[in-house]
């Protein structure tokens, strides 16, 4: 089974080939085992299936000539050409008016190149196991799972905009959905909750959470979205190259990365802004192998005092907005207004668990309040990444309009 990304890339390539050479009426790709990988928009699946079956049957008979490299069916008006590249069969139907050299170059170069690039990005495409039914004779005992050797992938850094984004965690790297799916395919039951980001240019590494891109426009672009905070910690910036590796649950310690490089660890759900102060890039919990001195205390000490949040509740960074309207001006409210999307997400995560209150934390000095919350009523503020806090509570927190705070549900 190929990944969606590979199919999409191949499909786009086939469509581009037809755009470049309009005399090509059909072009499609299938594997030696018969699996159809992609076809152009003009070619129906039935057509591809018919042709694929015929050509596969022909290929099977071709042992007499040592196996097929190419086949050309030449008609009076058009030709059908099949070429084999590795285990790929590329079939092209084109008019006799087409320049054969152009068609040949397009099919023999573009498609295999695209596929090879995809193989580099998604090695599982190349090494897909053939499905086999295990019989008692050929069944073997599989030993306990160990952390597999993983190869880091190269990505370009893209800024993670926090102000415009809602529910964005600055300590999370946002990556391709296809990559996550591919890891799931490759490593099966090995749980992957964190990734290692490595900046080859600086030698810095970070282990952090990851999530798929929030916007589809970033998909399949070979980029990773990380916050300025992570960029600072890695000492890289937008468009820098970054290597990404999954971290398996059984190798949480990531010893290999501790060996020679600086390692900075973000605990999954706790906002390190609270700990490090205003300049997180400088004050992150950092330790260097060559130095006995630990810049920050151990993780346990670092996050002391935050155990009460440790229910895997999501932390959302939002901007303080005054609580206006009659309630804000006349009353003395002891609640904050949170975007209904955030509330919906909490409900989605915690299901039937009751969430009556939220914890709001000021990010500079770590002051916090626990209070009730309601949904934002002003539609103009919805989806803007803000939290409406009455002035009294703002004073208690030591924050004001425009400042960043963190909000988290209190799960009963």
């Amino acid at each position: 089974m190929s990944t969606e990304a590979c199919t999409l890339a191949l499909k786009n390539t086939l469509t581009e080939i037809r755009n470049v050479c309009p005399e090509i009426s059909h072009v499609f790709v299938f594997r030696e085992n018969g699996e159809i990988l992609a076809e152009d928009e003009n070619t129906s699946e039935v057509t591809v299936k018919n042709a694929q079956e015929t050509l596969c049957a022909l290929s099977e008979r071709a042992t007499a000539v040592g196996g097929i490299e190419s086949v050309t069916f030449r008609g009076s008006e058009s030709k059908v050409n099949l070429i084999q590249v590795d285990d790929l069969f590329v079939t092209t139907v084109f008019s006799n008016k087409a320049d054969e050299k152009t068609v040949s170059n397009l099919t023999r170069v573009m498609i295999p190149t695209t596929f090879k690039v995809m193989q580099k990005i998604y090695p599982s495409i190349k090494n897909q196991p053939h499905e086999e039914t295990l019989t008692p004779e050929n069944r073997i005992d599989v030993p306990e799972p160990i952390a597999p050797e993983v190869q880091a992938r190269e990505f370009k850094v893209e800024d993670l905009t926090l102000l415009g984004g809602f529910m964005i965690d600055p300590e999370t790297a946002y990556i391709d959905r296809a990559l996550i799916v591919e890891w799931a395919e490759m490593y099966g039951e090995m749980p992957i909750k964190q990734i290692i980001l490595e900046a080859p240019s600086t030698g810095k590494t970070i282990q952090c959470k990851f999530r798929p891109f929030r916007e589809a426009k970033y998909e399949n672009k070979g980029i990773v979205q990380i916050s300025a905070k992570i960029q600072t910690a890695l000492r890289i910036r937008k468009n820098s190259t970054l290597l990404i590796k999954p971290v398996f649950e059984i190798q949480e310690d990531v010893g290999v990365f501790h060996a020679e490089k600086t390692e900075i660890s973000f605990e999954s759900t706790v906002p390190s802004d609270l700990i490090e102060g205003n300049d997180p890039g400088v004050n992150l919990a950092e330790k260097t192998e060559n130095s006995d001195e630990s810049i920050a205390p151990s993780e346990t000490e670092l996050f002391k005092g935050f155990e009460k949040y440790n229910q895997n509740a999501p932390v959302t960074q939002v901007i303080v907005e005054n609580l206006g309207g009659l309630v804000g001006r006349l009353g003395n409210p002891d609640f904050v207004r949170v975007d209904f999307v955030v509330i919906a997400r909490w409900n989605e995560i915690f299901g039937e668990k009751e969430i009556k209150e939220a914890i709001v934390e000021e990010t500079t000095f770590g002051k916090e309040i626990r209070c009730k919350f309601q949904a934002i009523k002003d539609s103009e503020l919805e989806g803007k990444g803000v939290i409406q806090i009455p002035e009294k509570l703002q004073q208690m927190l030591g924050t004001k309009k425009g400042a960043l705070v963190l909000v988290k549900p209190v799960v009963e």
Partner: protein, 146 residues
């Protein structure tokens, strides 16, 4: 009727009859009786082509008979099946993609190439060394193709 050739095997297929394989030592002048003139002309042309060093064999299949001449006689069945499958595939491909009748088919294999032509009731498959320019063979067969 049996057509004979020096050292090579000759297979004659009579319609509805069993394939006969006869190995002949020595040269005999073939006698052609009641033979389809197109078939005979084609056979003659292919025999000329067969003399080329790069051509390793051929299969000529008519309505009621077939002639096979291959360097590697052990692979007669494999070559015959490939030839047959190729003409079948040509029909399917032509109808699937609505291309007009297939004039010729070239299979470039990893070891050998095969050129197939459909001339009315007669099918020709010519096997040649890899890298052989099949257009030379097509030119040699041009009078038969008209």
């Amino acid at each position: 009727m049996v057509k004979k050739r020096d050292i090579n095997e000759t297979i004659t297929v009579e319609e509805g009859a069993v394939i006969e394989i006869q190995e002949v030592q020595g040269v005999l002048n073939p006698t052609v009786e009641n033979e389809d003139p197109d078939y005979a002309n084609l056979l003659s042309a292919i025999q000329e082509i067969r003399k080329r060093a790069e051509v390793v064999g051929y299969i000529l299949k008519g309505e009621s008979k077939a002639t096979v001449d291959l360097n590697d006689s052990a692979k007669i069945i494999e070559f015959a099946m490939l030839s047959s499958q190729t003409f079948e595939a040509a029909k399917t491909i032509a109808s699937t993609f609505r291309i007009s009748d297939t004039e010729n088919i070239l299979i470039e294999g990893k070891n050998l190439n095969m050129l197939c032509l459909n001339l009315g009731p007669n099918n020709i498959s010519i096997f040649m060394e890899k890298g052989t320019d099949h257009r030379g063979i097509l030119r040699a067969l041009a009078p038969q193709l008209e």
